[in-house]
Structures are given as structure tokens and as C-alpha cells.
Symmetry: none
Subunit: 195 residues, 4 copies
Amino acid sequence: MAPKSPEDFEKMRAESRSNILQSALKLFAEEGYDNTSISQIARDAGISKGLVYNYFDSKQELLEQVVHKGLKLMPEIFEASDRKIDSSTLPNMLERFRKSLKNDRLFWKFYAELLLQFLRNRELLQQFDMLFNEFIELFIECMRQQNVTNPEIEGRKLAAMLDGVSLHYMFDDDYPIDDIFDDIIKTYVPHASHE
Amino acid sequence: MAPKSPEDFEKMRAESRSNILQSALKLFAEEGYDNTSISQIARDAGISKGLVYNYFDSKQELLEQVVHKGLKLMPEIFEASDRKIDSSTLPNMLERFRKSLKNDRLFWKFYAELLLQFLRNRELLQQFDMLFNEFIELFIECMRQQNVTNPEIEGRKLAAMLDGVSLHYMFDDDYPIDDIFDDIIKTYVPHASHE
Amino acid sequence: MAPKSPEDFEKMRAESRSNILQSALKLFAEEGYDNTSISQIARDAGISKGLVYNYFDSKQELLEQVVHKGLKLMPEIFEASDRKIDSSTLPNMLERFRKSLKNDRLFWKFYAELLLQFLRNRELLQQFDMLFNEFIELFIECMRQQNVTNPEIEGRKLAAMLDGVSLHYMFDDDYPIDDIFDDIIKTYVPHASHE
Amino acid sequence: MAPKSPEDFEKMRAESRSNILQSALKLFAEEGYDNTSISQIARDAGISKGLVYNYFDSKQELLEQVVHKGLKLMPEIFEASDRKIDSSTLPNMLERFRKSLKNDRLFWKFYAELLLQFLRNRELLQQFDMLFNEFIELFIECMRQQNVTNPEIEGRKLAAMLDGVSLHYMFDDDYPIDDIFDDIIKTYVPHASHE
DNA sequence: CATGAATGAGAATTCATTCAT
DNA sequence: TATGAATGAATTCTCATTCAT
């Protein structure tokens, strides 16, 4: 009844949009992109099918937006807040990653799915590539900090290992994720414990 | 006049079947399972749509057969021929793996795709799970051979790293795959360096 | 501007659903279940193929719904309105049946078709079986009313004869349906003649 | 090895043909015409799919031949061997029919299926119509023999009842077929009892 | 802004029929 | 005569997308 202000509308739009993205992320992660229909997403978001198209031009664009939103979470996990890399950066990052893996299994399943989509889809690949390289660069930088002999190689190995561990963890409910992380942290951050 | 002999038929069948599996592997790997239609597979194999169903009951079964065939390659890559694990097993395996990654990129792309399919599909998961665990066990056994402190953890880390490296390599055409492998071999096979 | 109200949608749905059932009944009856494609039904109903699946999960379910709707007509034909069986029940029923046979030839053709489907399809058989037995029981009850020596047998004979007459009538455009019915009524309702 | 004489070939042909017809009858009766594939028939007959087309031009023609062969059995059941109709014709016929119903349930199921096919298929209808009318005429003639008041009507009623009883019997494994037949025979052949 | 009915292109699957041998 | 591989048209069913209200 009360006439809504432009701001109200704006807020509603943002909220609806966010709901849709939320539902899409969940369903894409659980069922896979191809096995998720717009109807399901709409139903899950509690809105009508048609309305989805009010916010996103196509299913493909919805995917891209979900990815976009998802990738923005990555830096929060991996980047040190002060952007300065020091000896605590890597252990902090690893801890945050471990925590995220355990808490946001859904997101990481989706991330795994995306890896595959990316291998095929040029549009998505570009969005992702930059971030992906930043992420590797970050590890390389950490290695450099630690004065390892070959930071480029060591950084890539660490990145690969973490991706591999994530995959295996998603596969196997009994995966000893904590043991593995404890060990990785110990290995890659040896200075942390003694001297 | 002369009716075809059973051998003739057998040969035809084997050939067609093999063609179909070949095309299916290629397309599943390149486009993904869901984005590949039976029509495409048939077209690629140079046969009619209907014939595919002469050899495979369903698209799902075709996938399973492709997987089955693919998984048979794994042991050749990872297992020591004499089944005895000694100090040369791991370097041999790693070399074979490196070579396979570079030669059979298609297969490994597909393998990556499968990881995701597996996360959802119970049928496939079972076929795969055993092999997957064997593969991890193998690395653990190698670690045990080398008297590392914690073979269980070290084996899993190595397995994860190799999966991660494979993924990254598939992503990035400039990935320094040889440097990484050289390093891994050097790290995990320290004895190799000093004679 | 104004969104459609739930009532509007409800009305649209009911109408479309009814159209589809109508067309399906007609075509199943005329062509047989197996010889009728969803496309034909859609075309006949003046809608798109896909819409049929908006209302019915499968062709099989469409059949079941058509049957369900059709079977609801049966009681109107065969049951005495007051549920009490007396000497007028049978002649009334026979008259209603005669009238229905002549008016609803389509339905009865379909009913005949169904008999055959039923011989194979367990799902449908159950829906039908109850009604079928009720129908025979009804005749038996009428016979009992008339104090015939062996009402069980006589009831079944009458039921069989009516099914047979229906079939023959559907076959033969010159079938003397009225003569037959007049005779049956005279035979089975002897009291009608002498008061 | 021994060169086959033309007669041998002829006999083999006849035998193969008969096998196919046998299998087709069985499968059509059990599964229905539409649900039976040529492959099934060939498999059941122990020959190749292609060979079926050596004997029959099409599935439709195979159906027609099965019908043709089947209908030839009818006279054996219904006609008095000496073609003369007397007071024993009807009871004999009814006994033969009862026996056939119980022994050849498969055939009668198929006959029921055919009734429906006939209602749609002009080709088949013609083959059948003649026989169908002969069959009714036969009953009418029997009634005439018995000096019933209205042989035309009574004959048709008997024919209808027998068709109906057959259907019901096929439906219901507990159908009291013998009681019904005993009663029919007693009713329609009253003279049989008192001399 | 919101709804869900309606569309239609495309996918998997079946199967009668053909054909080379 | 006999085989079964191969074809392709037809069928059921799904779902992204449009549109009238």
C-alpha cells in the first residue's frame, strides 16, 4: 500500500537477485549445471520461472554471474587482509582454506565443477584465468618469502596439492583432511614451530 | 551368396564398437558428457545414430564402457610391471605418468570430467572407487618403501599433488609440466640424485 | 500490467487439461493407444507437444487419467440412483446402457480397447478390476432380486452377453441393437409384460 | 552334403514359415502386436531377423497371415463335421468351444486382441467379417433348428454371450467357466436332459 | 514487477526394413 | 537361403525461453 521508494525497489531487486544466485549456486553444486533446470532454481528461490529472466538474460549468464560472485569469495580466503606477504601469510591462508573446505563443501564442489566447465567455455575461462593465476602467483610469492630454492616450482606444487586434496576430500567422506593439512602446514611453514 | 561367417560379423562388431568408444571418449572429453549427443558420437564415428544402440543399451552404458576401457589404462601407467615395489617403482611410475599426461591429454581431460560425474553418480562411483583407492594405496606403499615418517600422509599428498598438477596442466598450455615433474621426481626420489 | 490471478491460471489449466483428455480419449478410441502419438493428441487439442507434459507426466499417465475419467461414467450408467435394487433397477439399467451404447460409441470403443490393455497392464488392471467386479455383482444382485434359481450364474451370463453385444454392435453398423435389447429386457424382466 | 530335392526345400520353407507364424501368434497374444518386435519373433523362432522378410513382406503381412491361419481353426471348433445341423450340433459346438477356451487360452487372447485391431484395420476387417458372420449365422441356424420363436435374435444373443464369457474368462483366473458352460448348455439345449 | 502457461527445438531411444555378403 | 549389421524415421520426453496479462 505504502508507495515504495526507489531505494526500496532497488533493495528488493538486489535481494531477489541474491536469492536466485544462492539457489543457483546450491543446485549447480549439488546437481551440476546441466542437471539443474531454471524451474528448479526458481522453485528453490521461491519465485516464478519468468522472473529469473528478469534478472538474468539466460541460463548461461546466470552461470557466469554465479561464478563471478563465487570467485569474489576466493580472495577472502587466500589473500592476507593487509596484502603484505610475510611469514604468517601462508599459515593463515592454509588455515582459512582448511576451514572453508570443511564449511563450504558445497562451494568447493561447485568450484570443482567449474574447473571442468572452464576447460570448455572460453567466456568463463577468461574470468577465471586471471584469478587462477593470481592464486598461483600468491603461493609463488609465499615461497619466495621463505627463500626456497625454486619458488616458482614450489608455489605451483603447493597450489596443485591443495587442489588435489580438495578433490580427494570431496570424494571421500573419511578423508583425513585435518592430518593432511596439519602436515602441509608443518612442511611448508617449518619456521612457524621452532626457532 | 555366401553368408557372412560368424568371424566376419565378430570383426565388424569389434570394429564398430571400438569406433564408437573412440568417438565417445573424444567427445566426452572435449565437450563433456552432457554436451555430447548420441548423434554427434554417431556422426563422428561415421555411423548412424541407431547403430550406437546396437552396441550400447543407453548413453549411460556407453559412458560406463568408455570409463571401463579408460580405467584399464591406469594400471599400465601406475603399476610396476612385476608388482614388486622397490626404489625404482616410484620414479618409473612418475615417468610413465608424465609421458601419459603429455601424450593422452584427451584421456586425462576425460578423467577430470569423470571425477565430477563420479561425485554424483553412484553407479560409476563404485567402478572408480576401488581403482582410486588402489592408486592412493600404491603411493602410500611407495612411501613406506622409502621409510618416510608418515607414509599414509605422504602418499596421499603425492597423489593429491599429481591430480592437481594434471588439472593445472590441462588448463594452461604453458604449464611447466616438465620442470614440475623433474622436481617432484627429485623430491620424492632423493636416492636418484647421488650416484 | 496486472498479473494473472491464481483463478485465471486455474481456469486455463482446467481447460487445457480437459482439452487434452478429450483429444486423447477420441484418438485412443479411434486409433488405439499405441497408434496414437503425443504429437497427434497435441495437434488435435490445438496445443504444442510440450504442453501435454505440463499436465501429464507421461503418455502412460495420460492413459490412466483418461481411463479414470471414463470409468467415472460407468456408475452413472449402471447404478440405480437410489442404490436400492428392486424390480425396476435392471430394466432402467439396461435402458441406460442401450442409450449410452448408441450415444457414446466412442467411449465404448475405448472401453473395448481398454479390456485388452488391461489384460497386460497391471497398473490399469487394478483400477479397473474393482469396478468390473462391482458391475458383475450388480447384475448378480438383480438376479437375486428376481429369485432366479442360480443368480451367480445368471448374473454373469447377463454381464457377458452385454459385453458381447457391445462388441458386436461396434463391429457391425447394421447390428440390430434395438431388437436385441428389447429382447433382453423382455427376457430378463419378465414381470414387465404382465401387469 | 546330399543335394536337396526341390521337395525338401519346399518342406523346409513350409516349416520355417510355420515356425515364424507360431512364434508370432504366441508373442502377439502375450505382448500385443505393437509390443512385439520382429527381432523378438525371429529370436523366438530361432532364425535371423532378415529371414522373416524372406517369408513375409512386412510386419503387417505377418499379422495378416497369423490371423488367416488362426481363423482357419475357428471352423474346426464351431462347425459340425458333417455340416448338417441337427440337435447335437449346438451341444457339440459348445463343448468344443469350452475345451478350446481352456486349452488355447493364448489363441483366444489373441482373438480378443484382434477384435480391436479389426475395428480399425480395413484389410483385416474384410477377412474377418465373413467368418464372423458365418459364425453368427451358424448359431442362428441352430436356434432355427430348435424352433425358438426368434432365431435371429437368439442366435445373436448366444454368440454375444459366448464372446463375453470368453473375455471375462481371460480376465479372471477364478472365473467359473465350467459352471457357466454347463448352464448355457442346459439352457440352450434343453432337450438334452429329458429323454 | 510477477506469473506460469505455452512453445518448439533437440535429446534419447526404438524398431521395421534394407542390404552386402 | 540366411545372417545380422546398418539405417533412419518416428516417438517420447525435457527444458530454456517467450509472452499475455
